[in-house]
Structures are given as structure tokens and as C-alpha cells.
């Protein structure tokens, strides 16, 4: 068994869920999280046109104000959704490929996918263990 932890854009959750249903592994856990990556929490989206950046500078928010003035440094975060999926070993690469395909916009902030081992599982309702518990 493997656990797939995918940290993705908030607006891609519905599409990702549908992609998982199409493959036949619909069960998942979704959490709202705040994240930052190599770019240290700076937003890179469709809105990154010159006009939009000018508009943001004209209407200062606490973050832009802190960036432009020498205030105590603030760590910026971007809201993300975290999906956790536990699946058998043999479908991991299929699922990872599907998640990447749906979420790939080619811009910073698309997210990360982690695969880590899971040693055991138990279905609470029936007491089924390991492989049976996740099918």
C-alpha cells in the first residue's frame, strides 16, 4: 500500500476527483492547507499581467505594504488543497500520472505529489485489514 499526498490548486479539486473516479479509485481525504514553495509564497497565476500587478501596487494589502516597507518580515502563504489517497502499489503510477495531467497548467503553484509507504490499514465498520480495507 502507498499513500499519495497531492497538494494542488483549490480550483482543481473537482476535476481531480472526477479523474480519480474515472480510474476507479474514488476514495480520498481533502484538507484545506496553506503552503509555500521555492518562490516563498509569491502568487504566480493567470492574473500576472502588467495591468494586474500595477493594480495590486495601487491598492496595498498588508502583504504588499510589508513587502515595500521595512516592516518586520512576514512569511507569505498561498491557500491550497491537500488530497490524501491510500491505494495498492500497482496503481500508484497511473494515479500520479492522472493527477499531474489534470493539474498541470505549466505555471508556478501547480503543486507537488508525494508517495510514501503505508504499513497497515483497517476498515472500522467490518474489521477488514490491509489490502481488503482499501478496496
Amino acid at each position: 500500500m502507498k499513500e499519495i499526498t497531492a497538494i494542488i490548486r483549490r480550483d482543481k479539486v473537482t476535476e481531480t476527483k472526477q479523474a480519480l473516479v474515472d480510474i476507479g479509485y474514488p476514495s480520498l481525504t481533502i484538507q484545506s492547507v496553506d503552503g509555500r514553495g521555492k518562490q516563498k509564497g509569491t502568487m504566480h497565476t493567470d492574473m500576472d499581467s502588467d495591468n494586474f500587478i500595477t493594480a495590486v501596487k495601487l491598492t496595498p494589502t498588508p502583504s504588499t505594504y510589508a513587502l515595500e516597507h521595512t516592516l518586520p518580515k512576514v512569511a507569505l502563504f498561498v491557500p491550497k488543497k491537500m488530497l490524501t489517497i491510500v491505494v495498492p502499489d500497482d496503481v500508484v503510477s497511473t494515479l500520479v500520472k492522472a493527477i499531474i495531467k489534470v493539474n498541470q497548467k505549466g505555471m508556478y503553484g501547480d503543486g507537488k505529489v508525494f508517495v510514501s509507504p503505508i504499513e497497515g490499514a483497517l476498515r472500522v465498520r467490518t474489521g477488514e485489514k490491509d489490502g481488503e480495507a482499501i478496496t
Binding site: I7, I8, R36, K40, A75, I100, G106, G109, G111, S116
Partner: protein, 105 residues
Amino acid sequence: MKMIRAFIRPEKDQEVVLALEGAGFPALTKMPVFGRGKQKGLQVGPIHYDELPKTLIMMVIDDKDVDKVINLIQDKAKTGFIGDGKIFVSPVEAAYTVRTGEAVL
């Protein structure tokens, strides 16, 4: 690769994140959680708090950086009082960047 999960005091998270950024580990995920430890919560006079708010910081790093990151987090999150939190380390087999589709951290 290893996944570090650190449960720290919510008021310490900015300090910890900025220290990690300064040391070259800017990438992390945080989420608010509630939990309790060995002391079964907190008793303040007649009031008993069963679950206390904490911040969970999750980050995936290379094996060689684990000790460095744990020391950094402990250094900044420590107050010396009960409730400073815990750090857990677990294995990660693969990490993919969605933007490029490559299996590198």
C-alpha cells in the same frame, strides 16, 4: 527523502517558517490542528481544555537535511514549557512537481 511533520505552538509558526527560509528550506505546508498530549489537555482553575490548538508544519526534504531541519525547528519552537509540540519523521519514496511532471524534489 523524508517527510517532517512538526506540531508547534501557533504563535511560533512565523518565527519557525522564517528561520527555515533563512536556512534554505522555503517550501512547506501548514495547517491548523487540535490535539492533546500526555498531560491530557490543560487545566486552568476550574476549566479543562481537552484539546489545544496547534499548527502542523509539513515538509518533504532530502535525507541529509533531516537533522539540520529538526534542530532549526526545535531551536525556534522551544519555550521549555509543556505543550511545545512534537516532530515526526516518515519516509517518502517519490516526489513529483506537477508543473513539470518530473520526479524531483
